[in-house]
Symmetry: C5
Subunit: 104 residues, 5 copies
């Protein structure tokens, strides 16, 4: 799943009939702390997410596993609004500086 | 889903029978504002998109969820022509320069 | 879908039974004009493509949508030999130099 | 499949009903020796993995193949805690320095 | 499909029940000539591949198309041991130096 923030909407009139009634949201990928990254995503909203919400996206056939999106031609859905991300054991991205537990 | 613009067509005679009657369009990926990026995509057109149209593509098994593309050996379909992309809360891609709303 | 040229064959004796009778072709990815890129692909041939042919590959579950490849453990198939790619509206990859139609 | 270490949890109240009762874990990708890499993953835990565990993730429709995750809108699951990775024939990543067996 | 060489094994006791009896092999991706690349893969072995074997991996739902791996939470399988890769028409990766057949 991918962390993202909702930043806008995508409007389309000329579209596949199965997209009718589905809200397409423009999202910006973030890291786990909500810090924005460079990638944008368009996803159907299955959880009434609002502008600015910190959300989780799921890609692929998983995107059609909500009641709203069943059988629709879409490959990304917002399926959770995030309350909190808790990190109990942070691991530095610089391997030389750490000696992760259990890896000595 | 992926933003793209339709820029051409791909013609094939020697092909899988399930591709018969499906238009293969050459698309150039764009960002959310329609600005062209470096990546090209070939996708079946399910919404009568025309040359120059700003469209949404969906990849994977989702590409076979339109009536036209059911069971066809394709992994990308154009399923919407975009009218408008509205951004209500832009987040800069340079984290150091911004203090995104809700992230202070 | 991905543009590629057929450049060779992959031979295997010790393989899953469902691969029997399927030709594995080595392909080199190309751009839309047939110019070779750095990436290689191995795909099952569903359209009797020959060495040097300019073809389209499809990835994922789509690869099992041809009669030949149904239920086989493969993730890529050649499903079309390309006759022609026609570009009616080229968009430069250098955004600063262009003002794409409809994006002013 | 992807090597990762469990480093935290993701909590969500406003979510798709099928996510209820599923624990979302924040994981950091590692190499095969458990050394942390830069990429983060969010995955459902299907094997009661704990903080700091060295695990395997599987992506895509495979993520819904556990009893816990059947039909849920998720694209990543932790399906194994790793005891040991044994390398019998290491191959350097610098081709010039090696002459892999059978490739002379 | 992906070229790789088998270089080790991954052992797990705490795992999804559907993984029981399936051998997880550590593989290193190679190019079409068997030259090692930087990427590692973990895949279930469906063809009794041995250490050092030059193999083909398939990803995604395709990984569950062997009798051994049906319905298992895995996204990669080894489904062929390669005997030989034959290249009849090599195309240089430096486009300026070649004029591929049929592209003049």
């Amino acid at each position: 799943m991918i962390f993202a923030k909702v930043i806008g909407t995508v409007v389309s009139t000329q579209k596949d009939p199965k997209l009718t009634g589905k809200k397409l949201l423009l999202c910006k990928e973030t890291d786990h702390s909500g810090k924005p990254l460079d990638t944008y995503h368009v996803a159907v909203d299955a959880v009434q997410a609002g502008e600015g919400d910190f959300v989780l996206l799921t890609y692929g056939s998983a995107a059609r596993m909500t009641d709203l999106t069943k059988d629709a031609p879409i490959d990304a859905v917002i399926m959770a609004v995030i309350d909190e991300v808790t990190i109990e054991q942070e691991i530095s991205v610089t391997p030389e500086q750490v000696r992760p537990k259990g890896m000595e």
